[in-house]
């Protein structure tokens, strides 16, 4: 069988061995470490701007500062007072933009922008994810202030970064995303800060969105 063609790359060099998922060059590494960092670049990322009380805002449902999964398995994060970032399975970007545009009708001012290639997304998972992030970010990550499904934008390792707490089977997990050009630096900064906790790079799998 011929090697699948690579048509998209992350700004982060994939850890050996390389693999291809839906045209994306990803890492095929499988780590069993207690603290892992995954480059989730292939996931679809849609930036939506709309009025919170409009048709689109009501459909999206999650308020600013919170995340929720809609019935289609799309993670909807309230990333600003009238702004949402949607995360869907790889390749779902066009359909997601279409779904938002269909809902917006003609009277509502809505923008839906596919920023899949424009932002770098990574997932940090493990019991030590919180102490690691606390080294780089001043926001209180304790459960009282930042429980599961909390969303905020702040400075992480001096990069303007969106953080989504999205625990997986009770294990603390954070989706972290920033402008594409800072992605490689932020990935390195997280690995550097995680060295004392035994962090390892894990590969991307096509089931990354499952159970979100």
């Amino acid at each position: 069988m011929a090697e699948p063609a690579v048509i998209a790359r992350s700004p982060i060099t994939p850890a050996e061995p390389p693999s291809v998922v839906d045209g994306w060059e990803v890492s095929g590494r499988r780590s069993g470490a207690g603290l892992t960092l995954v480059d989730c670049m292939p996931l679809a990322k849609i930036l939506v701007r709309a009025a919170p009380d409009g048709a689109v805002g009501r459909w999206l449902g999650t308020p600013f500062g919170r995340a929720g999964t809609n019935p289609d398995g799309v993670l909807v994060t309230g990333s600003g007072p009238d702004e949402w970032t949607l995360f869907g399975p790889h390749g779902s970007g066009r359909a997601l933009v279409g779904a938002v545009e269909d809902l917006s009708g003609e009277r509502e001012l809505v923008s839906a922008l596919d920023v899949t290639h424009g932002r770098t997304l990574m997932r940090l998972t493990g019991a030590a994810a919180r102490p690691l992030l606390s080294k780089l970010c001043a926001v209180d990550l304790g459960n009282a202030v930042s429980p599961n499904s909390a969303v905020f934008r702040s400075s992480v390792a001096k990069v303007i970064t969106d953080v989504v707490r999205d625990d997986r089977s009770g294990v603390p997990s954070y989706l972290v995303h920033c402008e594409r050009s800072y992605g490689s630096y932020l990935f390195g900064a997280l690995l550097d800060a995680g060295a004392e906790f035994g962090i390892e790079v894990d590969g991307y799998t096509s089931t990354e969105m499952r159970g979100v």
Binding site: P81, R153, S154, I160
Partner: protein, 89 residues
């Protein structure tokens, strides 16, 4: 370190914000004379004490905020979202 309590994001380090400047009332462009317009564009009172100014939450909600701050003590006494009327960012 100055902490600014953003109405959207909560208390954040000042390094997340961008200082915009003194909040001024924009004169109505219809009927304003050049002297008033120049004063609006270029002149600032720069007080030693309480002042109302605009800050931009660059690394947070990306909103302009109206901040009341004492320029001597750096104490921030109030942060609100700019509304209609009064000095505007």
């Amino acid at each position: 370190m100055i902490l600014i309590p953003c109405p959207h994001c909560g208390e954040r380090n000042v390094s997340e914000f961008q200082y915009v400047g003194e909040a001024l009332t924009r004169p109505n462009p219809d009927g304003v004379d050049p002297e008033q317009w120049r004063s609006y564009l270029y002149l600032r009172s720069n007080p030693a004490g309480p002042t109302v100014e605009s800050w931009f939450h660059r690394a947070g909600c990306r909103r302009y905020l109206k901040v009341e701050r004492d320029t001597v003590t750096n104490e921030v006494t109030s942060v609100t979202l700019p509304g209609r009327g009064g000095p505007q960012p």
